[in-house]
Amino acid sequence: MRKEFPMLLTVVAALAVILSQFFFHIYNLGWLDVLDKWSNLMWAIAIGLGVINLTLIHGKKIMRRAPGYYNSIVLLLVLYGYGILGLITTTEGFHHKWIFDNIFAPMDATLYGIIAFFITTAAYRAFKVRTWEATVMLLAAMIILLGSAPIGEAIWGYWGDVRSWILNIPNTAGMRGIILGIYLGGFATALRVMLGLERAYLGGVGGR
């Protein structure tokens, strides 16, 4: 019951999806829609685990007076205050939405924008002519980079054409090779999981 039944559940769930996608009459039973809703529901219910985890970890930090425990106090106060407010007013409630739009969203967008800094330092550090392979990658990146801003064509009229050529021929072909492989690897992984060959959460990897 502790190992075999979960493995059976895995196979049944996987087969239900596969059969209803491929076979006409099963498709028309509408299982897929039901399974989608079921899985969404399970996924939504799981978020409570996240709240419990945050509460336990930060609760313990506060109890121990660990370094920075006052941030943990803020975290728990905001989490519960904001969460309960949302449960009362829904996320469309005026105050709930205001906080989201004016505090959360700008910080979120700023973090996304921080990548501009990181991408610059990453390029500076990584793109060195160490080996000829690294040089090829560097050249491709720089041609595309300058070609995607108007500056490229301002320097040399054909820059945009070279950029398009790289994107259309080697880039598309290389990505195609990567993607085809990813599909194959994904199928193999999904199959291993379905067959119970990979089940680290039940203990053990492998055929035994």
Binding site: L9, N71, E133, M137, P170, G181
Partner: protein
Amino acid sequence: MSIAKDPAVWAAALGTLAIWSFLYRDNPIYRLAEHVLVALATGWSVPYYYYSYIHPVIKDEMIGQGRWAYVIPIVLGLLLYTRFIPSVSWLARYPMSAYIGYGAGYYLAFNAKPFLGQVTASFVNFGAGNVVNQLLFFICILSALVYFFFTVSKEHPAMGYASQFGKVVILIALGAAFGNTVLFRYNLFLGRLQYVLQEWLGLIQ
């Protein structure tokens, strides 16, 4: 234009500066912002998940339309919480294995078609467009495929060269993808910078 008076703009601008402060170094203001961000994200999601996924199912579909089969996923979902009760914590494996099985099945069911789409898209028509380009494209794809072989020996020189060439093609593709993303990331940063300079400080029109 002058500095903003709207509290909403101030809140947004100060939040932006708090995140930027991390670029200099980790500091108390960033730490506070980081904790607030986690709390807000979770505090937003709990009611959102509840009103989008849980409430309508219980109210409309179960009670309203009598679709009591939803008890199954609800019970499965709740079984995840048995992990806090050591004696029955193994019950939490049921929802896990069902969910994982659904994921594995979904991948197998829905990716075979796009996969074949990628295969047929790789059929090269030398008649259309520049022959040299088409030929190069054809060779590039096949070499990239060879590069990934895991268990096929590449000792034969032909395989070795193809694999080497495939590696170059892949590196060009990755370099191109890198170069192509840089400016998008800058746009996001510039969007924030513009907000600070324009909406908050009123320095530009």
